[in-house]
């Protein structure tokens, strides 16, 4: 191990990721007495609060005085605060972390929701120490995924999340917890294995030697300080120099002579297409989309309330983030030709999730299906942008869609976590979730009901609340791709309104409470209030002033979309590379000089 490097971002980023794990290791030591449950709870809450503050320090420099080194520069599109340490030299695997406008808000969302979930964990009374150790490990895994820029590291963090989640659902969950836990694990591991195969295929085909000197520096393959020697080493290497660096893989994938597109693997489809498909399957299982969504209702329903908050608020976003960060930049050609698939599954799960939510009688299950429906918007928004075939070609529409999808992810993180928490508050009191056996809660718990209705309206997508912005942007942008999909997604809003309003009517309104344990319906406690209020507050802030989020998201998204748009134009105007590549070996399609000097390279350099 090298000593702590000079890089000012090293400690903030490293601590954000690893502080929870360090505290978890400390808590699991035998020196912490078993009976001190209260202390364990406070330590966990304190840790998550510190991590949240650290991420806030990075993300919002204004709050802490003038921006200093190691903090996030709002409005800058490229990757910031990149730290790079060698890890496994033999494979070029690096401890490569960094944030940009796409990952920074997600990091803050994760730390924020983790803090709230830690606070929401007070009602957990079984094996408190083990619960909090696993919870903190889970937080490390989630944050690691968002900040790692090395594909291997990314995969490690991706998998690290699985085991804590398995136990958290399986030990502290509801009646069918064992089934739900193994189902969650199985689905996700299947996706992960496919992802691992794709990672290896991309790695062994990649060659950073194809990149220009500027790209090598821009993608952090070489350190600026020793760039000359390292570039010389790459140029003089015999054979390809493989890489796990996500930025370099993206740059290689966007080359006019991308080796990913040149290799035909199986069934006449290029490596790019296969890698895109395998990665996509891995990610959409996490999102999840129909038909691989069936783990979600089970896991969400059986998980304890704080874990449901994390599942809906953060874990689902990992899938969307992966598609945006990995699938499209690395395999742009496949993204272009398979846009129909991404948009299609998005719309299908949107509609299916909404109908399924309408049919539920279990309150929590209804919220779970609403997540499926809402994440469908994310898929649609991510998918539309690459679709131009045969149409006039406007990258700003695509950017709108991706920005909408990003916003939808963040907003859904707030609203779905809020909804699950609200359900949990009721469940803690009356120990049932049957929608038919509620009613009249407004009269008994007025403050709670007010907050809950606000959160549900945010989930509904009422203008002025956070759910609205994302859905409207996605729907608008999809019109340009396919009016049919746009119309369907617009109509889904009606379904969403139907199931949410109906649920509100059955639970909160009405004359009297119709279920058991009526005496337990006590007003909201101050702890619950402290969790609910920030969520409602943010739901309103993001709805009224979406700019607070867009100032982070838009520059990075726009740059990525623009780069890929240039790439697509290049493909369109060039030798119709995709079609040629599909039918015959690449050697038969000589590259024009113009395509080599394409703007893509410029775009990638500025990245």
């Amino acid at each position: 191990m090298t000593l702590p490097p000079e890089n000012p971002a090293f400690w903030p980023l490293t601590l954000i990721v690893f502080l929870p794990a360090i505290v978890a290791a400390f808590l699991s030591l035998p020196i912490v007495p078993k009976a001190r449950d209260e202390a364990v709870r406070w330590i966990t809450l304190g840790t998550t609060a510190v991590v949240f503050l650290l991420s806030l320090w990075m993300a919002v420099p204004q709050l802490f005085g003038a921006a200093g080194p190691g903090q996030f520069v709002i409005g800058e599109a490229g990757m910031q605060n990149v730290i790079k340490l060698p890890w496994i030299d033999a494979f070029g695997i690096e401890y490569l972390l960094g944030v940009d406008g796409i990952s920074m808000p997600l990091v803050v969302l994760t730390t924020f929701l983790s803090m709230l979930a830690a606070a929401a964990s007070w009602p957990i009374t079984k094996h408190v120490k083990a619960y909090h150790v696993l919870f903190l490990l889970l937080e490390t895994g989630m944050l690691g995924v968002f900040v790692s820029l090395d594909f291997f590291l990314f995969y490690v963090f991706w998998e690290v999340m699985l085991l804590p989640m398995y136990f958290l659902i399986g030990i502290w969950g509801g009646p069918r917890r064992e089934y739900a836990a193994i189902k969650f694990f199985l689905y996700t591991l299947l996706g992960s294995v496919l992802m691992l195969i794709a990672i290896l295929m991309l790695y062994f085909t990649s060659d950073v030697g194809l990149l220009s000197d500027e790209q090598l520096i821009a993608t952090h393959v070489v350190q600026p300080a020793s760039a000359v020697e390292e570039i010389a080493a790459i140029r003089s290497a015999d054979g390809a120099v493989h890489t796990f660096n996500l930025m370099a893989l993206a740059a290689v994938g966007q080359l006019p002579n991308s080796p990913f597109a040149a290799n035909t693997i199986w069934l006449g489809m290029s490596l790019e297409t296969w890698a895109f498909l395998l990665l996509l399957i891995g990610f959409v299982i996490k999102v999840p989309v129909v038909p691989v969504h069936t783990w979600l209702p089970d896991a969400h329903v059986e998980a304890p309330t704080p874990i449901s908050m994390i599942l809906a608020g953060v874990l689902l976003k990992l899938g969307g983030y992966g598609i945006l960060r990995i699938c499209y930049p690395i395999c742009p050609g496949a993204g272009l030709s398979l846009a129909w698939l991404v948009c299609g599954v998005g719309v299908v799960s949107m509609v299916y999730g909404a109908f399924a939510a309408l049919a539920q009688t279990d309150f929590k299950r209804m919220v779970a299906y609403s997540s499926v429906s809402h994440m469908g918007y994310v898929m649609l928004g991510l998918g539309v942008w690459s679709a131009v075939a045969g149409q006039e070609y406007r990258w700003d529409f695509w950017a709108q869609g991706v920005n909408g999808a990003m916003f939808q992810m963040l907003a859904h993180g707030i609203s779905s976590a809020g909804m699950f928490f609200m359900v949990g508050v009721l469940y803690d009191r009356v120990h049932h979730r049957n929608l038919e056996e509620f009613g009249g809660i407004f009269g008994k718990m007025p403050v709670y009901s007010g907050l809950a209705v606000a959160v549900f309206f945010a989930g509904l997508g009422l203008p002025g609340l956070c759910g609205f912005i994302g859905e409207v942007l996605v729907t608008l942008s999809s019109w340009n791709y396919s009016p049919v999909l746009a119309v369907i997604s617009a109509f889904t809003v009606i379904l969403t309104a139907a199931y949410i309003l109906w649920a509100i009517q059955r639970v909160y309104l009405g004359a009297e409470y119709r279920g058991p344990h009526e005496e337990a319906l006590t007003p909201i406690t101050s702890r619950e209030l402290a969790i609910a209020t920030p969520l409602v507050f943010l739901a309103i802030v993001f709805g009224v002033a979406p700019q607070t989020l867009f100032q982070y998201v838009t520059p990075s998204v726009n740059q990525q979309v623009e780069t890929l748009a240039e790439w697509t134009r290049d493909v369109q105007d060039g030798s119709r590379r995709l079609m040629v590549a599909d039918s015959s070996p690449r050697e038969s399609a000589p590259l024009s000089v113009a395509s080599v000097n394409s703007p893509v390279i410029k775009g990638a350099v500025s990245q």
Partner: protein, 552 residues
């Protein structure tokens, strides 16, 4: 051969060769031999009869491990691969019966290292008791000696002798638990299967020797190329294939590859868990090493001038195809069957037996990839052998850890049924965490060593696929390996589920298993490397890469 050479010069030549060249390369094995003699002698002398045989064995193995380590360092230090010759510092000893190279050195280090930990474990778990100690340890060391020879065999006759030398003591070890019918049954079953497999293997060796006219492994490839390129009669090819398959039967038996695995679950269930650990780790490592040696001999041009290499490699293309497909298919079937059969097990040792079978499948996948790439991309073949070596080293900790925990729990719970572990987390959380680490590592999830091993195996498959070497087979193996990883999740997690989710049985009589004890320290010592090697695996990888040099 000069007629004038008399017996005197022959003997003196043999003497200088043995003392000057061979014995210095044979020091770890010599130490083991001396330890065995010492163990047996100790019983006769009244003064040292009270001496603990485990201690003697441990001391002897310490020397063996030290020499193995020195030999390995002598290869040129970990980073200084350049010092090594192209063939891994290859040196034939004992008149070409054995070979010393980096692969031998690595395997010997793994085996002696395993023995050290294994003897410690047996001292802690109390099997064997004091009376059986000398027998037990001399059998273990004798078998290990055979395994060291397996890893360095350079002659088909030596292959057979080494396999027998490793096997025969194992039969006795399997029956070590006296008075238990299951143990005797296991030993008998093992011995009968082993004898059958050995016979078939010997027959295969004689067929090969008859066609090729040589038993020296380095000469096999040249002879094989000659036979192949001569067109040969279809009869000779047929006999060669038959001989090769028969040889494979013997190796597959040692590897417990399907369909020659039937002994494995029964033996593991019947024998003590410690013996299971020995058979699953050491025996497997030696068998895989031998498979690599033999398979390489038939597919890699060795022992000829540079100019002839390419022509030989071409002539061997068919043989390579045959070997790759044989090993690849065996691997796929073994892996899938092992994982599927493990699903229904209720006995922990039996479950681990099937898990061992499955892992032999993963290992053979990498061997298939290595052979597929031998001719086209030697660098890739080297990486594949590296993956095997790395896998073996991590497998040592994972599986010894798993069996060790089973053995130590047996002493407390008086049971090796999975159901007996119910709710163990309530009383002994430390050991459950240790078991979780080991089992999750066996599934192959990061950040544990098992993941890295599996990652390396899969990466060698992808590497072969991208290099166009047996692309369709490699793709199939990759998919099968991936699917198997998911299948294996079920049964490993089931054990964890029983340990953590299930309620504590009311009639549990055992005392808790604290990690702050000698046994706890042993378990910790086995489990911590699994975690560390999962995160910081550069060093081990560099060492394994040295072993991989034999492929380039």
């Amino acid at each position: 051969m000069q007629p004038a050479m008399n017996i005197g010069t022959l003997l003196s030549g043999l003497f200088t060769d043995t003392v000057g060249v061979s014995l210095p390369r044979f020091r770890p094995e010599l130490c083991i031999v001396l330890t065995i003699i010492l163990l047996l002698l100790c019983r006769m002398l009244p003064l040292v009869r009270r001496l603990d045989s485990g201690l003697v064995a441990f001391g002897g193995v310490c020397f063996a491990a030290w020499y193995a380590y020195v030999d390995f360092l002598g290869l040129g230090g970990l980073p200084g691969e350049a010092v090594l010759g192209s063939a891994g510092g290859r040196q034939e000893i004992f008149g070409g019966l054995l070979v010393f190279d980096s692969f031998t050195a690595f395997l010997r280090l793994v085996l002696t290292g395993f023995l050290l930990l294994f003897i410690l474990l047996t001292k802690l778990s109390g099997i064997p008791d004091r009376e059986d100690g000398a027998d037990f340890y001399s059998l273990v060391l004798g078998s290990s000696l055979g395994m060291c020879l397996m890893a360095s065999a350079n002659h088909l006759l030596m292959v057979f002798m080494a396999v027998e030398m490793a096997s025969v003591p194992s039969y006795v070890l399997a029956g070590m638990l006296k008075g238990r019918p299951a143990s005797s049954e296991a030993a008998l079953k093992y011995a009968v299967y082993g004898a059958g497999a050995a016979g078939v293997m010997l027959y295969g060796i004689s067929l090969i020797a008859g066609i090729l006219g040589t038993l020296q492994l380095p000469e096999v490839s040249a002879e094989l190329a000659r036979v192949m390129s001569a067109g040969g009669t279809s009869g000779s090819t047929m006999v060669l294939c038959l001989g090769g398959l028969m040889l494979t039967v013997g190796l597959a038996f040692k590897l417990s590859a399907v369909p020659f695995h039937f002994w494995c679950p029964d033996v593991f269930e019947g024998a003590a868990a410690e013996v299971g650990a020995f058979l699953s780790v050491a025996s497997k490592a030696a068998a895989i090493a031998l498979l690599i040696r033999v398979a390489f001999a038939f597919t890699m041009p060795t022992g000829m001038a540079e100019s002839a290499v390419a022509a030989t490699a071409n002539a061997l293309a068919d043989a390579r195809h045959f070997v790759v497909y044989t090993i690849g298919l065996l691997a796929a079937v073994t892996c899938t069957f092992g994982n599927l059969a493990a699903y229904g097990q209720t006995n922990m040792k039996r479950l681990l037996a099937y898990s061992t079978i499955a892992h032999a499948g993963y290992l053979m996948m990498a061997v298939a990839a290595a052979i597929a790439m031998l001719a086209t991309t030697p660098a890739g073949a080297r990486d594949a052998v590296t993956a095997v070596a790395f896998y073996l080293a991590t497998y040592l900790f994972m599986n010894l850890g798993a069996f060790g925990i089973v053995a130590l729990l047996r002493n407390r719970l008086r049971s090796e049924e999975i159901a007996a572990y119910a709710g163990l987390i309530r009383t002994s959380p430390g050991v459950v965490v240790a078991m979780a680490v080991v089992l999750v590592s066996l599934i192959g999830l990061p950040p544990l060593a098992g993941f890295v091993a599996k990652f390396l195996v899969f990466s060698s498959l992808v590497d072969a696929m991208m290099a166009g070497a047996e692309r369709s087979l490699m793709l199939a193996l990759l998919v099968i390996g991936g699917v198997n990883t998911v299948i294996s999740l079920f049964y490993y997690l089931r054990v964890l589920k029983v340990m953590t989710f299930d309620p504590l049985p009311e009639d549990r009589v055992s005392e808790p298993f604290p990690l702050v004890s000698f046994s706890g320290a042993m378990v910790t010592g086995l489990v911590v490397p699994v975690v560390i090697l999962g995160v910081f695996w550069s060093g081990l990888y560099a060492a394994a890469r040295l072993a991989g040099v034999i492929a380039s």
